[in-house]
């Protein structure tokens, strides 16, 4: 009984029975998670509960969903939230153009005279356009899909309440069709940049993890993993410089994504080490606000590159 229920809800990939295994699996797929995040993902999969990830832009929240879909070898279904998003964009919409054509065809061929039956024909699955949430519930396969609900904080309260309902029942009701219930609950990952506080009821449905910027050593590792062409010295220097930038009180402190972008830019320029002139040339790939670039320049770009790796003090 318990076994069956667990099997139905949980979605751990084969061969993973502890959070340490999952951590290794994530690493194989180029995602370095610290122990906390790996534990959160492990529990989300094991207990079949949605995972709510919060944190600054660029710390790798969305990436979690992507790497999970690769590990579980299951499709990633993504719902990007925005202000004013509603059920018709998130769940389903009728294909009106085809419905109209169908009426016209039925009339031209004279196949259907009873308008009530015609109407019933129109509101069938054939004319339904599934949006991401419905797609995730309708998915049939050996593994449930990964459902990424990105930037929940951008949607509004009503939509949040609706999400809460879906994440509780994993079912939606379409008035003309009836209730559609998920075979197995999708692996749901919700992200938020915290532009506003998401309602506690929604968070309560989920496991919560706040992702912070990685530590220096981990960031070096990430860079080495994602930009293997980068020399060790360069990777360490970039990670150190980014760490200093984050301490600099910028409008948009660089995230991991920026660190990787920057390293790629440096590698493309053939840089083996960080020095003031290459930093000047590539600063636009880490700092995307002019004010931030100025602030870094005022603090002295040379200060960013001193003291780490081969550069020496």
């Amino acid at each position: 009984m318990t076994e069956a229920a667990n099997g139905r809800r949980g979605a751990l990939p084969p061969g993973v029975s502890r959070s340490g295994d999952l951590s290794a699996r994530l690493r194989e797929h180029d995602y370095l998670a610290d122990e906390g995040l790996a534990t959160a993902i492990f529990l989300a999969l094991k207990l079949g509960r949605p995972l709510f990830l919060e944190g600054e832009a660029g710390v790798g929240k969305t990436e979690v969903a992507k790497v999970l879909s690769r590990i579980l070898q299951t499709p990633l279904i993504r719902l990007q939230c925005y202000e004013g998003i509603d059920v018709f964009q998130a769940v389903y919409e009728w294909d009106y153009a085809r419905q109209l054509l169908h009426i016209r065809a039925a009339e031209a061929l004279g196949t259907e005279e009873d308008p009530r039956r015609l109407e019933r024909d129109l509101y069938t699955h054939e004319f339904l356009v599934s949006r991401p949430l419905l797609q995730a519930l309708e998915h049939r396969g050996p593994q449930p899909p990964v459902l990424l609900i990105d930037e929940v904080d951008r949607s509004d309260d009503e939509f949040e309440a609706f999400l809460l309902e879906i994440l509780s029942d994993f079912a939606v009701t379409i008035p003309e069709l009836g209730t559609i219930q998920a075979d197995r609950p999708p692996v749901a990952v919700l992200t938020s940049n915290r532009t506003r506080e998401v309602h506690d009821a929604l968070k309560r449905r989920c496991l919560y993890f706040y992702i912070e910027h990685p530590s220096f050593e981990r960031e070096v590792e990430i860079v080495r993993l994602r930009v293997p062409e980068a020399e060790n010295t360069l990777a360490r220097q970039v990670a150190a410089a980014v760490e200093r930038l984050r301490a600099m009180d910028l409008y948009k402190p660089p995230g991991v994504a920026e660190t990787i972008d920057w390293t790629e830019a440096l590698v493309a320029l053939g840089a083996k080490e960080l020095d003031e002139s290459v930093v000047r040339a590539t600063i636009g790939s880490v700092l995307k606000y002019r004010e931030d670039q100025q602030r870094a320049a005022n603090a002295g770009l040379s200060a960013l590159v001193s003291g780490v790796g081969g550069a020496g003090g």
Binding site: S19, G36, D156, N193, T195, R204, Y210
Partner: protein, 380 residues
């Protein structure tokens, strides 16, 4: 995983006790979260410190602000051993918000004034006079009356005007209604239907200075904020003192006195000095830039006295003006004859302000409500 048919997870007792401690330091830990914690422990190694730590963090914490208290409580409970017989003495300090009653007169005064004396007083302060009277000169009784006036202000009316998705003669094609019509005319879409996108009001963000120099006004202005919050409009309220405090939730109580008491409980630095620039920076960094100020109507209610560096304020106001749709500044001192923005902060902020209003009496609040409604609805 559980052996036999024991229903309660083995770790439940410890989980419940830990949950109670967390609740005591302000975390929102309900039974469901505690059960979640116990479940998580079952899946992990409950004998290993790290596993217990993470299981709790993932299931019991829901906001980064709670992490600090969680860590301390964890140390207290699991490391210092609540399982040991001795009750742990709370040597470790928690930051629990202490209620502060300085914005509000003690409850008794308000009650008394609302019952008996007010009727008498009102004879001497007819509404027309009250409307123009400077808030700084208000008596406690007049504040009670102000509450009624503000409730009538219909900030809500101005902001919640019904602009539902309406059938229109032009606009976006409405296939849903066109199809319904077509069914009636044998599949021929004789009349195409259209609809206009629903117009929603812009978000309004109110930042109210509660520092010492504003003391005479902040009480009345906070009532204005309260009226806005409960109107159901998309509105966010913050107080600015030495630091920034979000008070939207605290103000969301119908009872204005209770709301103000709650808000002043949340605000720790009421009537202290202002570091306006730093507070604005915190607003833009933490909330504004991430989306709250984007396309919004931002209203700052302050006299512009800034003990910090005004260059910071100027820079932050510039950032806000770039993000926001309209920036409205309300300064109660503006009403003084011959007013000039002498406060360095005010002078620094003005270039980035679209509308500059006074906000010293009820009439000026009416003007403010009008200006907000205009910016939120009309000039799109």
């Amino acid at each position: 995983m559980a052996e036999g048919d024991v229903q309660t997870p083995p770790m439940l007792d410890a989980a419940v006790a830990f949950g109670r401690i967390l609740r005591g330091v302000g975390l929102r830990v309900g039974t469901d979260r505690v059960v979640g914690f116990a479940r998580a422990l079952e899946e992990l190694d409950a004998g290993r410190r790290e596993d217990v730590y993470w299981a709790g963090r993932i299931t019991l914490v829901s906001r980064p602000e709670e992490l600090e208290n969680y860590d301390r409580a964890f140390e207290l409970f699991w490391d210092k051993g609540a399982s040991a017989k001795a009750r742990p003495r709370p040597k470790i300090r928690f930051s629990i918000p202490q209620p502060d009653r300085s914005v509000m007169p003690p409850k008794k005064t308000v009650e008394k004034s609302e019952r008996g004396e007010e009727a008498v007083k009102l004879r001497y302060s007819p509404v027309e006079v009250l409307r123009q009277k400077d808030f700084a000169l208000y008596s406690p009784e007049e504040f009670a009356e102000l509450q009624r006036l503000i409730a009538d202000l219909r900030l809500s009316g101005a902001m919640k005007k019904s602009r539902r998705l309406e059938p229109a003669h032009r606009g976006r094609h409405d296939p849903r209604r066109t199809l319904r019509g077509a069914m009636r005319t044998g599949g021929e879409a004789v009349r195409h239907r259209f609809r206009k996108a629903r117009v929603r009001p812009r978000r309004v963000v109110l930042l109210c200075d509660v520092s010492g120099s504003m003391a005479a006004y902040s009480r009345a202005l906070l009532r204005f904020l309260h009226a806005g919050v409960i109107s159901g409009a998309r509105l966010e309220a913050f107080s600015i003192g030495t630091r920034l405090t979000r008070i939207t939730k605290e103000l969301a109580t119908r009872d204005p006195d209770q709301a103000l008491r709650q808000a002043s409980g949340a605000v720790k630095d009421i009537s202290g000095g202002t570091r306006l620039g730093d507070a604005m920076k915190e607003f833009v960094d933490r909330w504004g830039q991430r989306g709250m100020a984007r396309g919004a109507v931002v209203v700052v209610l302050s006299d512009g006295w800034d003990r910090g560096d005004v260059a910071v304020l100027a820079e932050q106001m510039q950032r806000i003006s770039r993000l926001a749709h309209r920036v409205i500044w309300v300064n109660p001192l503006k009403s003084a004859p011959g007013y000039k923005p002498l406060a360095a902060g005010m002078a620094a902020a003005l270039p980035h302000v679209d509308v500059f209003l006074s906000g010293h009496n009820f009439e000026s609040l009416e003007e403010l409500a009008e200006a907000i409604a205009d910016a939120a609805w009309r000039d799109r």
